[in-house]
Symmetry: C2
Subunit: 191 residues, 2 copies
């Protein structure tokens, strides 16, 4: 399973074969059951999660007590509450497994040591954060410019694998719909 | 003016005194007049902008022809369309000076060379992107969870310097208000 991580690293950096086991030793491999929480609102956000297999999501509970999903992470994606993680603060989010998942977990101190010992990992994480930031800038543009229905159409066009894979009520939670409204949109399309 | 950049770099990395002039040589210092555009929708996004003095903003023009501001950059902040910049694509955004500004400009090829020649700059940009990503994750949470009025209150509490400095019509554009609605909120507060 860790081969997935190795292949992923090699897309971004030149990795010496003998270094990989040492890099990997900074991480803990964890199996997560479907709907298991890795992080709960109010906890200090200690860890950064890399998905080898499966799917995680991040959400918060809004004033009305409704779960609002803000992010998904599938294979080879990272997920955490980055603000709380960097400053070791209590989080406003939950991170939960959407499916049974195999993940690698690193904590902030270990990540700092990893970067000290392998400066090439600075380059790797620079790429990861750069791309994540670019994606979230586009996300903000969509949140401003699209109606909810157009946002769904965009998601379906750009990420059909999400629509296939992720339960409808979570897609609705991500888009800020009720599940009923999502059913209506889909029904309208079919008719 | 470049001392501002040096002091900023030193917050993140150990910088050898003799390296700074070489690092600086990768950038072009540019003076931008108020309301001057640095980037226009449809152009290839070639550059990354660092603000030494002044203020830039990023916006797009929505379907109704209205400018929607998505980002500001004040002193020691970076700004670009990161997706278009990394992949050298045409942008969907404009970048414009809010005030007369002094900036440093680097293009994508020069940034790549800078990272090759000074690997310590990987660490610097890793921090920059990590923090920018964390801030935009929180921004997305606010976009989901706050009413427009609550979003304004939050901005006023966390970034009073913005409210002081940036023209009201641009604050309105950032929050997705009409300027009239913003005046109403402010009037309500005073009364």
């Amino acid at each position: 399973m860790s081969e997935i991580f190795k292949a992923h690293l090699k897309k971004f950096i030149e990795l010496k074969e003998e270094d990989f086991p040492v890099i990997l030793s900074f991480f803990e491999p964890v199996s997560v059951r479907k709907k298991e929480n890795l992080l709960i609102e109010g906890q200090i956000c200690k860890s950064h999660y890399f998905v080898l297999k499966g799917c995680l999501r991040k959400f918060f509970v809004n004033d009305k007590g409704v779960e609002q999903t803000t992010e998904f992470a599938i294979e080879t994606w990272w997920i955490t509450d980055n603000l709380a993680y960097e400053h070791q603060l209590p989080t406003e989010f939950y991170i939960q497994a959407v499916e049974h998942s195999e993940i690698l977990v690193i904590n902030a101190q270990a990540q700092e040591k990893l970067l000290e010992q392998f400066p090439v990992m600075e380059r790797y994480f620079r790429f990861i954060y750069q791309r994540a930031y670019a994606a979230s800038q586009m996300r903000i543009k969509y949140l401003y410019s699209f109606s909810k229905e157009a946002f769904y159409n965009q998601l379906e066009k750009r990420h059909p694998e999400f629509i296939q894979r992720i339960p409808q009520y979570l897609i609705a939670s991500f888009l800020g719909f009720t599940p009923e409204y999502l059913s209506e949109i889909r029904a309208k399309r079919v008719s």
